[in-house]
């Protein structure tokens, strides 16, 4: 089994690229792969807990937690988060905050990298 790293940059609401990334991660984990996720740019919108699950908007907090429970590492860009006003205490449980070098370092050992720039 291999290791897949996803770098995701588009916002939570809008392109649905984050929905794509979490569904892909789920499928990867189901097949026994190790999956890592880096959230940067407007994708740091995932780093705000307490989002109301309206049906009109993508809501991924619950799925993210399930996948982290299955071993997925999720790390969010700290500067991108602070610039948007998401502080340490806003971070959903289990999610890590780090600077961009975390993502760069992950590219070394991972078998595959899917970098979703978008927007």
């Amino acid at each position: 089994m291999g290791e897949l790293t996803l770098g995701v940059f588009p916002s939570l609401v809008g392109s649905m690229s984050l929905d794509f990334a979490f569904k892909l991660a789920e499928a990867g984990i189901a097949k026994g792969h190790k999956v890592n996720m880096w959230l940067s740019g407007n994708a740091v919108m995932m780093a705000k807990k307490g989002q109301k699950p309206f049906k009109d908007y993508s809501h991924l907090e619950k799925r993210m937690k399930e996948l982290m429970g299955k071993g997925m590492e999720v790390t969010v860009c700290e500067a991108c988060a602070e610039a948007r006003g998401y502080h340490k205490e806003d971070t959903p449980e289990g999610m890590k905050r780090a600077s961009m070098d975390w993502y760069l370092a992950k590219t070394v050992k991972t078998d595959r990298l899917l970098h979703i720039g978008g927007e």
Partner: protein, 99 residues
């Protein structure tokens, strides 16, 4: 190289794809990229589908989200699911490009 290109949009990213070369090339149509598989603008196939030597795939979830089904899909394109994408990434291709 073995390259899988994810086309996630319809109008903006074809030019980048056009230039790319790879010994083994997969084009995976996701998000609004699915329109390349189902829309025949002015009666013609999307120019993307004429990329020589490429294998074409379209994500069924994103197809059906937008009101289309496998019946609408161009015969050059194979309809696949998330699990298949995982296999393509981990087994068939080495590098990925999300356009």
């Amino acid at each position: 190289m073995k390259l899988a290109v994810f086309l996630s949009d319809w109008r903006r990213t074809e030019e980048t794809l056009e230039r790319m070369k790879a010994e083994k090339l997969g084009v995976i149509l996701v998000e609004n990229g699915i329109y390349h598989a189902v829309v025949k603008e002015k009666g013609k196939d999307s120019p993307v589908l004429s990329k020589a030597g490429a294998n074409f795939y379209v994500l069924s979830d994103d197809l059906e989200t937008r009101g289309f089904t496998a019946a609408n899909v161009n015969s050059k394109v194979k309809v696949i699911g998330y699990g298949d994408i995982v296999d393509l990434i981990m087994n068939d291709y080495e590098k990925m490009a999300w356009l």
